[in-house]
Symmetry: C2
Subunit: 266 residues, 2 copies
């Protein structure tokens, strides 16, 4: 492969701007590569040793349906942002982001997760994975949240980035106001809950069965006053001991699974 | 400071064996240093620039009550396992681990968290932080679980490693059997729940109000058959979508906070 490609692929992994402008991203490793829609695949690079390995089977179907390029182990090391590349690297087109209205279409009581300025890629990935499992309808985040197509996020979603509807918006305050009014849900108003250390309502006492949105803020600063001011209720996860706060992904998990519990059991 | 010390301090950060044999560990950064009991502090190394910084206040009290050694910024970089050391590094004595009986003493319906072979330091740290917040009585883990005194775990507990009672045991199977029988709780039998993908009981339908223990397994393999075979019930977190499993720290959080909810609300 030529030098220009290699440089582009590295930039695709390192620079959000390059991903945004190209609409592409990378997938490293057979397991997640095997989950890609062949129609979204742009380029596939594999090493000989990978083709000879057992892991080949995890993405055999994909490799049968698209063309791939053989590269040397040393080239793969140069192309991949991981310390120990797994022998297959895919350049794929980002899933087209559907708008908030499209996310909620046909869902009776949607459950939205609103993320404000989440910075840690591992946290965002875990939130995607957890949200899918908890039955969240869609994730809405601001542009200051870490890019969901970054290699670290993609990896830690364990595939959920391909399945979980999400969108990043320029003005999260405006989006939340419109969401609350029912503008995205055919007039069905959405209850907005802010996860907040000063919350007055126990999250488990909040009614999360109807159309709801749960807002989770930045890892160290929490939600901005402006955004949490738009909530119908500030909810609190009561804490024992001297912990000051929960990890953002843990807080999201606890509240989303409480919503799932209420929707399943109550 | 002399070369031998520097080498020892680096080894203390890198090698579980050195920590185990010396009974020491390291704390990096002012916030957590400020939470240390001065009686547990062995050595304190600070840089001049740290003493002149605002962060000094976060551990001012400690620095007033113990002797500290001034080191150069370059020395601090060599001593610390973090990329950007915060200017204070403490060698402290590990909190004496209390046995399981001592953990439960005086607690009416203890809630134990049992960890089998958790490998990721960030996960273990998050579990400590979450467990403290959820009101867990004590954490019992096997020796194959990552060392709780490793710098990465200590950091990600956000101080909970100093406050949360925990113990690592040679034989977790035996410990669980004794726990179930009430041997550690003055005859009060402890219900043992295994978080399991093949669980038959919805975790939210399990009674977590009485004396209970929740068992969480390794990040990729889950619980061993031998250990989960000792559970009274295998419990399941029902999942939507195509997620295969939850992150171990997320699974622990969801179940522990359900226990907290039941104990608070029901």
């Amino acid at each position: 492969m030529d030098g220009r490609n290699k440089k582009f692929i590295l930039e695709l992994q390192k620079k959000p701007k390059v991903r945004r402008e190209s609409g592409l991203y990378t997938v490293d490793g057979p397991k997640m590569a095997g989950e890609l829609d062949p129609g979204d695949v742009e380029n596939v690079y594999v090493t000989k040793s990978f083709l000879a390995s057992q892991h080949f089977k995890e993405c055999e179907e994909l490799l049968r349906s698209v063309r791939y390029e053989l590269v040397q182990d040393s080239e793969m090391k140069q192309m991949s942002d991981t310390v120990t590349p797994q022998g297959i690297l895919v350049v794929a087109r980002q899933k087209r982001v559907r708008g908030i209205r499209a996310m909620a279409e046909g869902v009776k009581d949607p459950l939205f997760l609103i993320l404000e300025t989440i910075q840690d890629p591992g946290n965002l990935g875990t939130i995607f994975r957890t949200a899918e499992a908890a039955g969240v309808t869609g994730i809405i985040m601001n542009n200051e949240t870490v890019d969901a197509w970054s290699p670290k996020v993609v990896r830690s979603t364990m595939g959920a980035v391909l399945r979980m509807p999400f969108t990043a918006v320029d003005d999260l305050n405006e989006a939340v106001t419109k969401l609350a009014s029912g503008a995205f849900t055919e007039g069905n108003k959405v209850n907005i809950y802010a996860a907040h250390l000063d919350g007055a309502v126990d999250y488990a006492a909040a009614d999360l069965k109807g159309a709801s949105a749960i807002m989770i803020g930045n890892e160290s600063r929490g939600l901005s006053d402006e955004l949490s001011g738009r909530a119908d209720k500030k909810i609190l996860i009561p804490m024992c001991g001297r912990t000051e706060s929960l990890n953002a992904a843990v807080a999201a998990a606890v509240i989303c699974f409480e919503a799932a519990r209420q929707r399943r059991i109550n």
